[in-house]
């Protein structure tokens, strides 16, 4: 069609030219001469991590329709939003018996356990429905599901000196939250109002960050659960939203998936589907899927452990996150043993501290993390090939390179399955012993539930069996870690080690050692929650 424009100039438009609805035709294409994009090496860079085209569930028209619907994520968040406001209200106003209060019961007997299941099976499934981030986002966007243009808040960027530590900020806030939780015995569960205040605290800090910073800065850097979900979620079988054809993405001159379009926001997590190589930072929010004008994004599944094993670029922050999170869960396990009780009491009386004394807390976590780091250092010292030059990286914390990093990072990635299994196993006693209490706790709204009811006292499983399940879970996790450590060390460490087989056996040994320690501790704990 030829049309007359304002100046009367004829403009030729190819008949039926594909143009996304709601955009103006670009009048200046003749004056635009973009430089060529660099593609060389792209295939090799992403081949190991690209999911198979057949695993794209968004190819299914019904799934595609669902994902395109702007209300979809809202409807995922809404039930959780309702539950958590109920948790807050009931925690403050409901019964003070923790096991009978719906707020505490659902949070600690069911929710925490489910979050771990989702992490291990899916990845960031929780993030897709999270009411904390969800609420902040609603406020920031001034909308529940609509695509709006004006955001509320300052829209700052997280300053680079902080942002360069990646997920370590989130690890830190998880440590702080856990310490608070231990102090007030919130998850015990303790007094229901403590759980309320904790949730209020998370919602409020999320809101503050959503109003001060751009997009989901809170989720990406600050949220206490983010690093845990990110690392453990690497075991998950959902690869996240990824490009279908990278050539199309690289040639794409507008990058709506990053900037946003009239139908979707730009990625709130700072992830580009065109270069994502794990499910680490995809919050499964569907925005890029909605924005892409070329329908070039799929929602991909992957084999379990793919995001642990496959990435060719591993992250130093994630490695430390694994080490520290491992330290934390070991601390919690030790904490539940009787030996620890004795030592702790002695310490507290001598040092005039109260539980959980920070010396133990920081000390044990730090010690475990350092042992992990130390192990890697010893391995690299003993087995590194001196003639291999480690290519230099960037100048910031995340991207610097060193021989230590070259060994530490793959070794820690290999442990992800056992760390994940351990966190999961730790939730099991509460679940098996107390999840039936949810029924009387609902009854308690109507004055019907009571601590004398059968369900209140009913356990799905009791002590020796729970320990059995826990040990089984750890065994599975250890098996997973043995396999991932074997594969990762074969790919990442063998080439830079003087004795390739030895380094692989050491990696496997480290995984086994971790698994055995956790398993032994569970036996000693006697299913203590």
């Amino acid at each position: 069609m030829t049309t007359l424009t304002e100046a009367g100039t004829a403009v030729d438009e190819p008949a039926g030219a594909a143009r996304p609805a709601g955009t103006t035709r670009d009048p200046v294409v003749t004056a635009v001469h973009l430089r060529p994009v660099r593609r060389h090496g792209m295939e090799e860079r992403f081949a190991p991590t690209d999911p198979a085209p057949g695993w794209d569930v968004a190819r299914h028209p019904k799934v595609a329709r669902l994902l395109r619907n702007r209300r979809f994520q809202f409807l995922l968040i809404l039930p959780n939003q309702i539950v958590f406001w109920a948790v807050i209200l009931l925690g403050l106003l409901g019964t003070v018996v923790p096991g009978l209060n719906f707020g505490t019961a659902i949070t600690w007997y069911l929710w925490f356990c489910l979050v771990f299941v989702m992490m291990v099976v899916v990845g960031r499934a929780w993030c897709a429905m999270c009411p904390f981030g969800g609420f902040g986002e609603w406020v920031q966007r001034r909308a529940l599901w609509q695509r709006t243009q004006k955001v509320l808040g300052l829209g700052r960027k997280l300053p680079e000196p902080v942002a360069q530590y990646g997920f370590l900020l989130s690890v830190g806030s998880f440590l702080v939250l856990t310490w608070i939780e231990e102090t007030f015995n919130i998850a015990g569960p303790g007094a229901p109002h403590a759980t309320s205040w904790m949730v209020v605290g998370i919602v409020a800090s999320a809101l503050v960050f959503f109003l001060a910073f751009e997009r989901r800065t809170f989720c990406r850097y600050v949220c206490p659960l983010s690093a845990l979900i990110g690392t453990v979620g690497a075991m998950g079988s959902v690869a996240g939203f990824r490009t279908r054809d990278r050539d199309v993405c690289v040639a794409c001159e507008t990058k709506e998936c990053m900037r946003g379009s009239s139908s979707g926001y730009g990625c709130p997590w700072y992830t580009w589907p065109g270069s994502a190589d794990s499910n680490l930072a995809c919050g499964l929010c569907t925005e890029c899927y909605k924005s892409c004008p070329s329908d070039n994004i799929g929602l991909f599944l992957q084999k379990p452990m793919t995001s642990v094993v496959a990435p060719t670029r591993r992250r130093f922050d994630v490695a430390w996150a694994v080490a520290v999170l491992w330290g934390l869960v070991i601390y919690q396990q030790l904490n539940a043993t009787s030996v620890y009780g004795t030592v702790d009491n002695w310490l507290n009386t001598t040092l005039h501290l109260r539980y959980p004394d920070p010396v133990d807390y920081v000390g044990i976590i730090g010690l475990v993390a350092l042992v992990m780091g130390g192990a890697a250092w010893v391995v690299q010292h003993a087995l590194a090939r001196r003639d291999v030059v480690i290519p230099s990286g960037g100048t910031n914390y995340l991207e610097r390179t060193s021989r230590f990093r070259a060994f530490f990072v793959p070794l820690m990635y290999g442990l992800i399955p056992v760390v994940g299994a351990d966190y999961f196993a730790r939730q099991l006693p509460k679940f098996f012993q107390h999840v039936p209490r949810l029924v009387p706790s609902v009854g308690a709204w109507f004055g019907a539930g009571s601590t004398h009811s059968t369900l209140y006292r009913y356990h799905l499983l009791a002590d020796p069996r729970i320990v059995l399940v826990q040990v089984l879970v750890i065994a599975l996790g250890t098996l997973g870690a043995v396999s991932t450590s074997w594969k990762i060390s074969g790919r990442d460490l063998a080439g830079i080690s003087s004795r390739p087989l030895a380094v692989r056996l050491v990696a496997v040994g480290l995984a086994l050692a971790c698994g055995v320690s956790a398993g032994v501790l569970y036996v000693v704990m006697h299913a203590a929650p």
């Binding site: 049309t3 007359l4 424009t5 304002e6 100046a7 009367g8 100039t9 004829a10 609805a21 709601g22 955009t23 103006t24 035709r25 670009d26 009048p27 200046v28 003749t30 004056a31 635009v32 001469h33 973009l34 430089r35 060529p36 994009v37 660099r38 060389h40 792209m42 860079r45 695509r147 243009q149 960027k157 680079e160 942002a163 360069q164 990646g166 751009e214 690289v250 001159e253 507008t254 990058k255 709506e256 990053m258 900037r259 379009s261 009239s262 730009g266 700072y270 992830t271 580009w272 065109g274 270069s275 004008p293 670029r313 290519p391 990286g393 960037g394 910031n396 914390y397 995340l398 991207e399």
Partner: protein
């Protein structure tokens, strides 16, 4: 490209720009890489992040504006030489003086120096800022190569009035306001002056009639202003037989009488029609077309183009506008144009016989301070009157060209912002006194607020309404209206967004006007304009989208 420090910095350590790509934020999308004018950015494929070569960076901040994740930071000065100053004529003799006040670039040396400041941006924002989307880096490159024919060829792709536009465009909020340098806080390339330089060195080539299959097409065009000229030009070149109907006695519309000679000399204003007539376009002046005549035109032509512009003056709802001595800008400009050519004064314009109204030093009050108002006031000065412009907007936000304002003030025009007329009072049926209230405007997107308590009076002899025009839709009234393209309000076009033109706060140079938004709004208005379409009838120019600029 010549590199120099702007502004000049004494401290050499801080004298070069530095680029930092933020870790864990850069996703390696290459948006910055493909748009960096100096090739200072590349992709590190192994890490899949952008990397910068500091030595090549000139600090234009295109990368900052185009990165979708705001993952790149540029610090330090912009490395660009000083803009070549374009001189204005010293305050002219004024009384009866018609010589052009603005001068262009005076030599090839100046032009080459200015052309060398252009970065040839891969995704040039200046082109989006120009309403007709001239390929600016293209014609500047041609100037740098001293190839004027090529420069004209490039200009011709998008315009037939480069000599006119380069004189009358408000570059500060169009091309130059959206030049990369200006968006980066520096001084823009003198795009308007370069475009003018091309047309001064080599006249705009006349239309070339292509003999071809379309030769038997016969088209009637209503209106001979800029839109009519462009339509006639295109059609003539395509080989059609073209007849243009103009209601006035001379062709050119706005160009003929609307823009005074001291801004647009008559040689320039008359050039398009001289060339069109030579090319065989038939012009019928004094031939108004009434709504009912469209049918008749369709009977004698294969197609009709309505390019009658938007010529209905906006009248303020103020008591006293119907008094004698109050008129609209177009009638004033048309008559003052004739009076000035005839070498006479304000008295020539006088129809009333009231004593003193047309005498030397009479006060002409101009409502408005935009392009047209300035033209009116400066014409009045040349007719020997005093001129006062009042505009209710704040000077920071008013859509007035800064150079034009300076010139007008230098010529003795009094321009008052933040004030508005709330009433006109007459004596003997003729306007004599204006009551003027102060206004306050805090933000560009807010309507000024009238402070009724703060009123002054001014004795005046004549009032000219120069607040703008609106479109008379009667000609196109019966046509079915369909939008040209579907435009979603609020949401900017993807390529505009990607080019980075919308990313920055308004450059100071552009008077705090968000140039990108302005340009995009123009673009969307054009594309979403209800496009009246009937068989064989087309609408073009302001007649389509409502009043705007010449291009």
């Amino acid at each position: 490209m010549t590199l120099a420090l702007n502004p000049p910095v004494a401290d050499l350590a801080r004298a070069t720009p530095s680029v930092t790509v933020l870790v864990d934020r850069c996703a390696g999308c290459q948006e910055c890489v493909v748009r960096c004018p100096t090739d200072a950015l590349d992709l590190d494929v192994a890490r899949w992040v952008a990397v910068a070569d500091q030595t090549r960076c000139v600090g234009c901040r295109q990368c900052v504006r185009t990165c979708p994740f705001s993952a790149i930071v540029v610090e330090g000065p912009a490395l660009v030489s000083e803009r070549t100053p374009v001189h204005f004529a010293e305050p002219p003799r004024l009384r009866g003086d018609l010589s052009e006040t603005r001068r262009g670039l005076s030599s090839w040396d100046e032009a080459l120096a200015e052309a060398s400041r252009c970065l040839e941006c891969p995704d040039p924002t200046c082109v989006r800022g120009c309403p007709t989307h001239n390929d600016i880096p293209g014609f500047i490159r041609a100037v740098a190569a001293r190839d004027l024919a090529e420069a004209h060829r490039i200009l011709r792709r998008t315009t037939v009035l480069p000599d006119v536009c380069s004189r009358v465009c408000d570059q500060a909020v169009q091309c130059e306001g959206s030049c990369s340098w200006s968006l980066a806080g520096g001084t823009a390339v003198a795009i308007g002056a370069l475009e003018r330089f091309i047309t001064e060195q080599m006249p705009v080539p006349a239309p070339v009639r292509a003999a071809g299959p379309k030769a038997d097409l016969d088209v009637g065009i209503v209106g001979s202003g800029p839109a009519g000229i462009a339509a006639a030009w295109e059609l003539a070149e395509a080989g059609a037989r073209v007849t243009v109907y103009e209601k006035a006695s001379m062709p050119g519309g706005l160009l003929g009488w609307g823009i005074p000679d001291f801004t647009l000399p008559s040689e320039v204003a008359d050039r398009p029609w001289a060339q069109l007539r030579d090319a065989g376009v038939e012009l019928r002046c004094d031939a108004p077309v009434a709504p009912d005549d469209v049918e008749r035109l369709l009977a004698s032509h294969d197609a009709v183009v309505l390019a009658h512009g938007a010529g209905v003056p906006i009248t303020p709802p103020v008591p006293g506008v119907d008094l004698e001595g109050v008129e609209d800008a177009s009638s004033f400009l048309e008559r003052s144009h004739r009076a000035l050519l005839a070498g006479s004064g304000l008295a020539e314009l006088e129809t009333s016989r009231v004593a003193g109204a047309g005498q030397e030093g009479a006060v002409v009050l101009v409502l408005g301070a935009g392009n047209t108002a300035m033209d009116v006031a400066r014409s009045a000065r040349r007719l020997g009157a005093r001129a006062v412009c009042i505009d209710w907007m704040d000077p920071r936000f008013a859509p007035v060209r800064p150079d034009e304002l300076d010139e007008a003030r230098a010529e003795g025009v009094e321009v008052r912002f933040n004030s508005t007329v709330v009433g006109l009072e007459g004596a003997d049926g003729r306007v004599a006194v204006a009551r003027i209230a102060a206004t306050r405007q805090e933000r560009a997107d807010r309507r000024p607020e009238v402070l009724e308590s703060d009123i002054v009076t001014l004795a005046i002899d004549r009032v000219v309404l120069a607040m703008g025009y609106r479109l008379d839709r009667s000609l196109a009234r019966d046509l079915r209206e369909v939008p040209f393209a579907k435009v979603v309000d609020e949401y900017p076009d993807r390529r505009w967004l990607a080019s980075g033109i919308l990313a920055n706060p308004a450059p100071r140079f552009a008077r705090h006007q968000p140039v990108g938004r302005l340009a995009l709004a123009r673009e969307s208005a054009r594309q979403s304009a209800a496009f009246p379409r009937a068989a064989r009838v087309w609408v073009a120019g302001d007649a389509l989208v409502g009043p705007s600029t010449v291009v």
